[in-house]
């Protein structure tokens, strides 16, 4: 019997205890609109704080220009085409460098994830190189390949390829052993097991690896352009520093963030499209 119930059989049902922590409990659910609202609020809050700090004259415009002046500067750079030209150059470098790295890393990662011999031959070496700071290669790459696009590709490649190989190896190792056993009992050759079972099975993981490493590629292209370039987003930032155009620098940094966000969302959209079979209810 419920405590305090007098057994009168009245319609008064015990009200469920009030649930607190509707928003802040671990794993508490928030509607999609709520999620977006919270995220947008944080962005707005930061911009407001920035506007307040510059508007009140707490920091000088040389160090931190107001959001308005950054915006106006970006609009004028967009209008005269500079922004799009810079972005186009960097985007081209990223795409080429990233594609070269990925096209090489996928087969190598698959092979060292599947064969112990190749793992022993390649993994320790890759691990070793991976810990060398990419930035330290910049002077060397300039010596080797000048300051043109080739050097940018090389830096992006060094920065992403070795990481990709190890991550893809891990993606491949997560393929259930019984999937491979199944392929064996069906009499498939090793090559067929790799192509028809291992690669498709690891593909969602590999896609995620590509998405994550694409984010790093953005960093490396700007690093390369900051040091030695005659075009690109990183180049514009260096030039702007020379002329104390802090508004351009900040505008470009924010723009890079937006570009990263867009490429990430594109990869995620691709994921939803490619791996629909993993969704419980979708077809």
């Amino acid at each position: 019997m419920n405590q305090g119930s007098t057994g009168s059989g009245s319609t008064a049902r015990p009200t469920p205890p009030r649930r607190r922590r509707r928003f802040f409990g671990i794993g508490a659910r928030i509607s999609r609109a709520g999620f977006i609202a919270i995220a947008a609020a944080v962005f707005l809050l930061l911009v407001a704080a920035w506007a307040a700090a510059t508007g009140a004259g707490i920091v000088g415009p040389l160090f931190l220009p107001s959001p308005g002046s950054v915006w106006l500067r970006m609009v004028s750079l967009a209008a005269n085409g500079t922004l799009w030209q810079d972005a186009g150059v960097s985007l081209y470098r990223i795409i080429v460098g990233f594609l070269i790295a990925s096209v090489m890393a996928i087969p190598i990662g698959v092979v060292i994830g599947s064969y112990r011999f190749w793992e022993a031959a390649i993994e320790p070496l890759t691990d070793f190189i991976r810990y060398m700071p990419v930035v330290a290669f910049v002077p060397l790459t300039i010596l080797w390949s000048g300051t043109g696009d080739g050097q940018k590709f090389l830096i992006i490649w060094i920065g992403t390829f070795f990481q990709q190989v190890l991550l893809i190896q891990d993606n491949v190792k997560r393929v259930p052993g019984d999937f491979i056993g199944l392929g064996r009992t069906l009499g498939l050759s090793d090559l067929k097991i790799l192509m028809k079972i291992v690669v498709p099975s690891a593909f969602p993981g590999i896609w995620d690896t590509l998405r994550i490493s694409l984010g790093w590629a953005w960093t490396w292209v700007v690093v390369a352009e900051l040091v030695a370039a005659t075009s690109g987003l990183g180049y514009r930032i260096t030039v702007s520093q020379r002329y104390f155009q802090t508004d351009t620098i900040i505008g470009y940094i924010l723009f890079l963030g937006v570009l990263g966000l867009i490429t990430d969302q594109l990869m995620k959209a691709g994921e939803r499209l490619l791996f629909r079979y993993n969704l419980r209810h979708g077809t």
């Binding site: 019984d178 056993g181 064996r184 099975s201 079979y277 419980r280």
Partner: protein, 259 residues
Amino acid sequence: MTPKLELRGLGKTFGEGARQVEALHDIDLTLAENEFVSLVGTSGCGKSTLLSIVAGLQDFDHGELLVDGAPVTGPGLDRGVVFQSYTLLPWLTARQNVEFALKAAGMKRAQCREVAAEHLELVKLGKFGDAYPSQLSGGMQQRVAIARALSYRPKMLLMDEPFGALDALTRHQMQELLTRIWEEHRLTVLFVTHDVEEAVYMSDRIVVMSIAPGRIKTAYHVGLARPRHQDMFSTREFIDLQREVIRTIREETMKAQAA
């Protein structure tokens, strides 16, 4: 008549040097054509290792392994395997999963579709051919896996605790379904399980293994009439045999714990 499957003095050792562990010792086991044999034993007795060796997925160190009198050199289409874990390929639909095996077996594309549909019907999943594994329950996935293993007509079916991950109710339904299929179509089956009731219900013969090293301790002939029904669970004969098998396994478990 040559037995379907024959193991003679089969032995298997894991590890090297001082860390060597003898997993299987001097295993003699014979399965007649169309015989349903269950392998039971306390966990760690090597029953799954033995099945995996018969499937050709693991090597062995001593003895002989013969299918239809010919030595086995590796995995092959003559032995269909159903694993305990769900092994449907998630990017393929139920029908495509069956067709995947048929194509591997060299069947022509046009025929694949028909045979796949027929086998999905056999496990009562005819309507689910276009469903992806993520849309199927665990029991349904195992039914597709059984359909897949049967579809290319192997000489025998090897099953490694295929219902071990399912809830009790689903497991009973699966036992019933597999028994119906088996009684109708007959096939040599080697079935590993830790569920004695399941073994008694389904098998012609139950082989009990002992532990450390894994050996065949004893075997029981199951005299229950066929076709079998789950009503038999409560008959004297069923319960007596079930108790006897459990007692034998428990002896082994005690011995292992005392050691």
